[in-house]
């Protein structure tokens, strides 16, 4: 078991490292979008040098060996697109040029890795909150998203279980059919469509709930009522999935021999169902729930956008605005989602052994 856990953990870190490295390298190949104003660029490029993504050298007009190059660079055509030139002019004459040149991507990659591992430095945001460290930007957003998703989790698990159990116990009745149909409807409608319906009906038409998430400084009951619609929008698909698996697992267990034996022993039906059937049907459900949390989390990107929730998803959409990309932030956010997703995988792997001791992962046959 210990060995298995160790192997799985290492493997998860390998995948994490692969994905993030791939993402970093490819995003470095895309056209750059530094901060928009000169002042912000000055700070940004000095920070780039400090972090090891760029090197800087200065050409002076009073140094004879630099004159030729200054002459050459005075034509904008001759400048490299990925380098940055701070040109100091006095009376129309170039006094000095400060050249910020990117280091090779392999070198940048190692700088990036060192920065993250040693300093937890994910770089500066370039467009969304200019020159603010990425982790600072995310720090205020992550709790919003995680809180919303945990509430959704706390809401959908009991609902999904209950519906699934009812459907399994009342198999092939009208109730079961009704639940099956609504499961089919909920699982089929894309979450953004169901969210649109919810906002349209309960927000605009009936006016029961706010039509968008309140700003940070607004207090009062609206903070809580504003959670209702996004939680519903998030959990529809998850409820449907959970109901369906619960029903399937429980039906299978209910027809199994050991339950018959339990009944024969003289247990009442509720006793048999709760003590024997439910416990055994749990096994495949726990991993399902962990995975569905990851699904919720990445699905909340679109819900956050519709309901204007100031979470990580919304900031991702802002960082992805066409031709206004904020790569460092994108990297930070995708890292967040990747880490959460992969640790969920790890948790699932390990939970198999805990939920059902019969399963010995990695055991030799």
């Amino acid at each position: 078991m210990l060995k298995y856990t160790a192997i799985r953990t290492v493997w998860i870190f390998i995948i994490l490292w692969t994905i993030l490295s791939l993402n970093f390298t490819i995003l470095r190949l895309a056209p750059e979008y530094p901060p928009p104003t000169d002042e912000e660029q000055q700070i940004y490029y000095r920070r780039q040098v400090h972090d090891g993504y760029m090197t800087v050298r200065v050409l002076r007009a009073d140094r004879p060996q630099d004159v030729e190059e200054i002459e050459f660079l005075s034509e904008p055509v001759n400048r490299e697109s990925r380098s940055h030139y701070e040109i100091d002019r006095r009376d129309g004459e170039i006094q000095s040029i400060r050249i910020f040149e990117p280091t090779p991507i392999s070198q940048q990659y190692f700088s990036w890795l060192t920065n993250i591992v040693t300093e937890w430095n994910w770089g500066l945001s370039t467009r969304v909150q200019v020159n603010v460290p990425v982790f600072e930007v995310l720090r205020s957003r992550i709790p919003v998203t995680v809180q919303l998703n945990l509430i959704a989790l706390a809401f959908y698990i009991p609902v999904g279980f209950t519906l699934g159990i009812i459907a399994a116990l009342r198999k092939d009745t009208i109730l079961d059919n009704l639940i099956s149909i609504s499961v089919m409807v909920m699982i089929s409608i894309p979450s953004f469509v169901s969210m649109l319906f919810l906002v349209l009906i309960f927000g605009y038409q009936l006016g029961w709930f706010p039509t968008q998430f309140p700003a940070r400084d607004i207090t009062g009951t609206i903070r809580y009522t504003a959670l209702v619609l996004p939680v519903l929008g998030l959990s529809f698909g998850a409820i449907a999935g959970l109901t369906r698996t619960t029903r399937a697992e429980l039906t299978e267990v209910l027809t199994s021999e050991f339950l018959l034996l339990a009944r024969t022993k003289g247990l009442s039906r509720p006793q048999a169902v709760v003590r024997h059937a439910m416990r055994n049907s749990m096994v495949p459900l726990v991993p399902g729930i962990i995975f569905s949390f990851v699904g919720l989390l990445s699905g909340s990107v679109i819900i956050e956008r519709i309901y204007r929730i100031p979470g990580t998803g919304r900031i991702f959409i802002r960082a992805m605005e066409p031709n206004n990309y904020d790569y460092n932030l994108i990297l930070g956010i995708t890292a967040f989602y990747t880490i959460v997703g992969l640790f969920a995988v790890l948790l699932v792997d390990l939970s198999y052994g805990i939920v059902d001791p019969r399963i010995r992962m990695g055991a030799r046959k």
Binding site: T18, L22, A30, M184, S188, L196, M320, G341
Partner: protein
């Protein structure tokens, strides 16, 4: 089940019969046809009625998506601004008030001048109701019209009454060398529109009245009224102070010409400045009003006139031109009242009213007066000059007669031009521009009058529309080509410049052709040395005929913001979504089958490596793939399809792999291998065909998933978008509209136009539900053991 069992339990012995006693069974062919794998599946499929219904609905949707964009007669690709934002309208149910094409409009600002006016009286409205500004009352359901007021604080004209305070609230210290702080409150111009000047005519005794309700008073505070005479000089004259005010009150300036030392007609701009040393200074300037006297004419007579002009037809006498300004924002087209006390009627005497606008070179004939009496002449009935643009014009009277003894005694010429006397309760302040950060404008107690009403958007959209610059090419296409048989040109008695067309022609009237000087001439490409002429017509169109509808059309889903039919558009979008779903799923299935076959067939190390690879790829969150492809290639069809396939094939690969593990150890594979079959033959001829049923049924569910992702991405703006079109394999051309794009369009208008979101959302929901049911039914039919498990 139990009942059935019982039926077969007690069957008497004699009912049994040996099938054959004398023949061996393997010699005989089956009399019944064996039920094949597919037939068996089909029977199972047809048993579940719900799934059959879902499948029928699904295929109906697909049929619509294929046929509607081809068959529709309505506009689904070009902009038609006139018919945009039409609400849904359905035949039959519109009679009971559902989807009747009417919209309820609220918070529409009321045009106060219509309250109690002739216009509302003619419509049968009570005196207290006003019409909304800028809306054609013909299309309002008048019994639903109500007016109500709400408080307002802004500076627009419609915000009416109340108290306005302009104040200097400068708390900063004065700069060195300056002992006063000056806030300049400047009007862009006193008149209502930048493009027009306020005209002071010495003949009309202009009186300027300035009302200051309240003002900060100390020795150093003064409010100055300045005026600048505008002329053609590129360096305009400086503003001259015409009044200095130190305390509240009403100030009347009637000696403006003396103050300015001017004696001719001039146009001007006005500006107000408040200067003070105090930081608390303010001036509550309510209004600056300008009133004109009426123009009073004199007796003109050919006998008395000194300048007798003898024209070709007889004698003419010209009365001095009267200059005036027309501004559509403040004035209605003027009515000229000419009182003729006596007139010589013997010798074909005519008193002609002539008008010249600033664009004209010569005076245009308006109307003749041939007898004495009071004549009200509404200039708008005789000329089309009074449109939406402001201009200066002058009028003159001309006496034409055969006989030099002719005379006409005109006692007065009055312009009923009452809006020119500007009288307002304070909105003029709204026209002042605040200069500098230190002035504030406060308004309290003001109200704005709103109206709410039901509006017939369809009638409005397909009614008469005026097109000022209607291209000549289109005009000839209609009148001489497409509608040549119904467009019969006729004289327009009301308008000598234009003409009209018979009924049934899209062009009702031509108001004017392009004036000669406005024709654009461009050197011709085909015939060097010559010029292509581009000109246009000013026309009134019947939009229903113009849009080629015989009767008022039904847009059952309404129209979008560009005037396209949402019904057609939804199906077009669905077709795009379906095609992208098919293509992406096709690619995914192909890759998945090949990958899964190799991995499953070879097993061992190859399998382990390939499994690890697919695990890594499958663990990449969609946000990562999204960011990579959007950053490298930008949003669009390519990125979309790549995002859809980058990890989409993994499911198929794993199903295929399982099938290969199941079949690769079977005897027939071994036999074939022993006979020397190559790996490719074993994979594609022996193993794959056996597992393909399971693989395909598992893959059917991929199409709705892909559509699901596609619409989500397009909704977020990372997929396709309007105006794009792309080709798949050079064969099928897709438009950039998908359901996600339509939903994204409707996002900002969920409150005002929910139908833009509602209908596409319903359609995609039905599609997804039926597709999933169809996929599940197919899987259950082919693979009954999996029923209900997923």
């Amino acid at each position: 089940m139990a009942n059935q069992d019982k039926r077969y339990q007690d069957i008497p012995k004699e009912k049994f019969e040996m099938v054959q006693r004398d023949e061996k069974i393997y010699d005989k062919r089956f009399e019944t046809k064996p039920i094949g794998y597919f037939k068996d599946a089909m029977i199972r499929f047809a048993k579940n009625k719900t799934n059959v219904i879902a499948t029928i609905i699904l295929f109906t949707l697909i049929a619509f998506a294929v046929s509607v964009p081809i068959l529709t007669t309505k506009n689904i690709d070009s902009q038609e601004i006139n018919v945009r934002h039409l609400p849904p309208r359905w035949p039959l149910v519109e009679r009971i008030g559902i989807f009747d094409g009417l919209t309820t409009r609220t918070d529409r600002v009321v045009d106060r001048s219509t309250i109690g006016s002739d216009r509302t009286a003619a419509l049968g409205l009570p005196d207290h109701l006003g019409l909304p500004a800028g809306v054609n009352p013909d299309y309002i359901l008048l019994d639903t019209l109500t007016n109500y007021s709400e408080a307002c604080f802004d500076r627009r004209e419609s915000c009416f009454g109340g108290v306005n305070v302009l104040s200097i609230s400068n708390t900063a210290e004065p700069e060195e060398g300056e002992d006063t702080m000056m806030a300049v409150i400047r009007s862009r111009s006193f008149v209502f529109d930048d493009s027009t000047m306020l005209i002071f005519n010495p003949d009309t005794n202009p009186v300027l009245t300035i009302n200051i309700d309240d003002m900060y008073t100390d020795d150093d505070t003064e409010l100055r009224i300045l005026l600048r005479v505008e002329d053609d000089d590129p360096d305009p004259a400086p503003y001259q102070v015409i009044k200095t005010i130190t305390e509240a009150g009403e100030y009347v300036i009637d000696d403006l010409f003396d103050i300015l030392d001017h004696d001719e007609l001039f146009s001007s701009r006005i500006r107000v400045e408040l200067e003070s040393k105090s930081t608390d200074a303010y001036a509550d300037l309510r209004a600056i009003n300008l009133t004109h006297d009426n123009l009073v004419g004199e007796t003109i007579s050919l006998l008395e006139g000194e300048e007798q002009v003898i024209g070709g037809d007889g004698y003419e006498f010209t009365y001095d031109p009267l200059l005036n300004t027309y501004d559509p924002t403040t004035a209605i087209p003027p009515v000229v009242t000419v009182v003729v006390d006596s007139m010589d009627v013997t010798s074909n005497t005519e008193l002609r009213l002539m008008m010249k606008t600033e664009d004209d070179d010569e005076y245009q004939y308006i109307r003749s007066i041939i007898d004495s009496g009071t004549h009200h002449i509404n200039l708008n009935e005789y000329t089309n000059a009074f449109g939406s643009d402001a201009f200066d014009y002058s009028l003159k009277l001309m006496l034409v007669a055969d006989d030099s003894d002719a005379y006409a005694d005109v006692s007065s010429i009055t312009f009923n031009h009452h809006n020119m006397a500007i009288e307002n309760d304070g909105y003029l302040l709204s026209r002042f521009q605040q200069l500098g950060p230190h002035t504030t404008f406060l308004r309290s107690g003001a109200e704005r009058l709103y109206s709410s009403y039901r509006f017939d958007l369809y009638a409005s959209a397909f009614g008469e529309w005026e097109r000022r610059a209607f291209s000549a090419q289109e005009f000839y296409r209609i009148t001489e080509d497409a509608y040549a048989d119904v467009c019969e040109r006729m004289e327009d008695p009301a308008n000598p410049d234009g003409w009209q067309y018979s009924e049934g022609c899209p062009v009702i009237r031509v108001v004017a052709e392009t004036p000669e000087e406005d024709i654009v001439r461009v050197p011709s490409r085909e015939n060097p040395g010559e010029f292509d002429e581009f000109y246009y017509y000013h026309v009134i169109l019947d939009y229903m005929i113009y849009m080629e509808y015989d009767e008022m059309p039904y847009f059952i889903f309404g129209t979008d913001g560009s005037g396209r039919d949402l019904f057609g558009l939804t199906w077009l979008g669905l077709r795009t979504s379906l095609l992208i779903g098919l293509v992406a799923s096709g690619i995914n299935i192909t890759i998945g089958i090949i990958y899964g076959s190799i991995s499953g067939y070879y097993g061992g190390k190859v399998d382990i490596l390939m499994e690890r690879f697919s695990e890594v790829v499958g663990r990449i969150p969609w946000l990562v793939t999204l960011s990579i492809f959007i950053a490298l290639f930008g949003p669009g069809a390519f990125s979309l399809i790549m995002i859809l396939i980058i990890s989409g094939w993994i499911g198929v690969a794993s199903v295929t792999r399982t099938q290969f593990y199941r079949y690769k150890g079977r005897e027939y594979v071994l036999a074939s291998r022993t006979l020397g079959a190559k790996d490719s033959r074993l994979i594609f001829r022996h193993i794959l065909p056996n597992g393909i049923g399971t693989i395909i049924t598992a893959s059917v569910l991929m199409i709705p998933q892909v559509i699901f992702t596609e619409s989500s991405l397009s909704y977020l703006g990372f997929g396709i978008g309007h105006g794009q079109s792309f080709r798949l394999f050079g064969l099928i051309e897709l438009s950039g509209v998908s359901i996600g794009v339509l939903l994204s369009d409707g996002r900002t208008e969920m409150l005002s136009r929910p139908y833009l979101t509602l209908f596409p959302a319903i359609i995609i929901s039905i599609l997804m539900i039926t597709f999933n049911m169809f996929g599940n039914a197919l899987r259950d039919a082919f693979n009954p053991s999996l029923r209900g498990s997923q």
